[in-house]
């Protein structure tokens, strides 16, 4: 599933094909259409200015996503997330999931709107790692590069994020709530 990291090219060659995906991620981060456009635009400008620091051949989407999330987290909208994102997860060893927990009884087919609703409810750092892993299909190494955290933390955060998502899904009625439908 990990794509070969053979990204080389000019800035525009690398960035243009990613715009739609960056926008999607930006919408999930900001949860606002206008802010998402501004975020992508500002991030691309920053990335262009800093393109000299990109090492050709490494994972470009991880590199540019890192710029985008830093841009977001230091923006006014992002600042309110940083306090909840910087939790003490590094000291929190995830307990092994045991067989027969209610989570694994969730074999029903997954409803798309329920998943979108659950993602919206997750804290930012859980939402983004699930998006990078499951939607962007980044490898753990690429996620580690994008988020600037060790691979061990990628794994523990991902495991916690998925448990939180299952908890959301389990506790959620199947019908979409008005809030998620209006977005």
């Amino acid at each position: 599933m990990a794509e070969p990291t053979t990204d080389t090219g000019t800035f525009e060659e690398l960035t243009l094909p990613l715009l739609a995906r960056l926008y999607n991620l930006a919408r999930w981060l900001t949860q606002d259409a206008v802010e998402a456009e501004e975020l992508v635009q500002e991030s691309c400008m920053k990335a262009l200015r800093g393109f000299g620091s990109y090492r050709q051949g490494t994972n470009f989407s991880a590199w540019i996503y890192r710029i985008m999330r830093n841009t977001f987290l230091t923006s006014r909208a992002g600042l309110k997330h940083t306090t909840i994102s910087l939790d003490d997860e590094e000291s929190d060893v995830p307990e092994p999931a045991t067989v027969g927990t209610p989570e694994t009884a969730l074999l029903a087919s997954f409803d798309q709107q329920a998943i979108q609703g659950a993602l919206e409810e997750l804290p930012l750092h859980f939402r983004e790692i699930i998006l990078l892993c499951d939607v962007e299909e980044m490898s753990y190494q690429a996620i580690s590069d994008a988020l600037g955290i060790p691979i061990g933390t990628v794994m523990s955060r991902l495991s916690r994020a998925r448990r939180a998502m299952r908890a959301q899904l389990a506790g959620m009625p199947n019908s979409p709530r008005p809030r998620s439908a209006s977005r």
Partner: protein
């Protein structure tokens, strides 16, 4: 291996991140333990459902257009981008590119969409990494596009046809994402472009075109626009087109 060992590696297994030896043990356990096999199946389903659900937001066309202009200020004459390519290009190839630039510039005048595809084809040939998914196997290439473009397509079996698949990549044409598949025939390379057919295609027509050094054939099927571009004969292009049309009809 007990079930706890398995559950601790469930994420890594489903994310395809387990070392080979551990993945083998993991799978061996699943063959004898229905509970763990179910858990893995369920988690895979959730991952796939999340992949679809997470691709939720599409950028407005004006936004993409603005961004493309920002990133590519010279987009008014895209052909000249060819001139900025690596100095290390072999001389013959550079000459061929120059010729292509002139031909494309002329061509573009008449058929903007075809010209852009020819440009994309030439760009691909000159690139050090022409494709993003490198595979001769259509069963690898087709699923790679899932989630990257908003439609699916089928690729033909090539046995005994002389054509070989080298891989594919996502391309943008007039702001719509599409697939570019690279094929070879007797060392010549051909691009097959597949896009959603629609209003984004002014001047796009069905039929073959061979006015220039590139030969092309284009058709529409089930809402998809196919264009083949290559420096082989019309007949060769037509036979690849037939293969694609046949598999699309199945």
């Amino acid at each position: 291996m007990n079930c706890d060992w398995i559950r601790q590696r469930m994420d890594a297994y489903v994310d395809n991140e387990l070392p080979e030896a551990e993945a083998a043990e993991f799978e061996a356990h699943m063959r004898s333990c229905a509970a763990c096999a179910n858990a893995a199946l369920e988690q895979t389903r959730l991952k796939l459902a999340t992949r679809t659900a997470g691709q939720r937001f599409t950028p407005p066309a004006e936004f993409l257009q603005r961004m493309e202009q920002n990133l590519r200020p010279q987009s008014a004459k895209p052909s000249w981008r060819l001139l900025r390519w690596p100095v290390a290009l072999p001389v013959a190839m550079a000459a061929a590119l120059l010729l292509a630039v002139l031909l494309i510039a002329n061509f573009q005048h008449r058929r903007a969409a075809y010209a852009e595809l020819a440009d994309l084809h030439v760009t691909t040939l000159a690139s050090a990494n022409p494709v993003d998914v490198i595979s001769e196997d259509r069963h690898t290439v087709k699923p790679w596009f899932a989630g990257r473009i908003p439609f699916t397509f089928d690729l033909p079996e090539l046995k005994d046809t002389g054509f070989e698949l080298s891989g594919g990549r996502v391309v943008y044409l007039q702001h719509s994402p599409g697939a570019q598949l690279l094929y070879t025939l007797r060392k010549h390379r051909l691009s097959v472009f597949i896009f959603q057919d629609g209003q984004a295609w002014p001047g796009m027509m069905t039929g073959a075109s061979s006015e220039l050094s590139f030969h092309m054939e284009s058709w529409s099927h089930s809402g998809l626009r196919y264009v083949i571009v290559g420096d082989v004969s019309d007949a060769d292009i037509h036979s690849l087109a037939e293969l694609l049309r046949k598999v699309a009809r199945q």
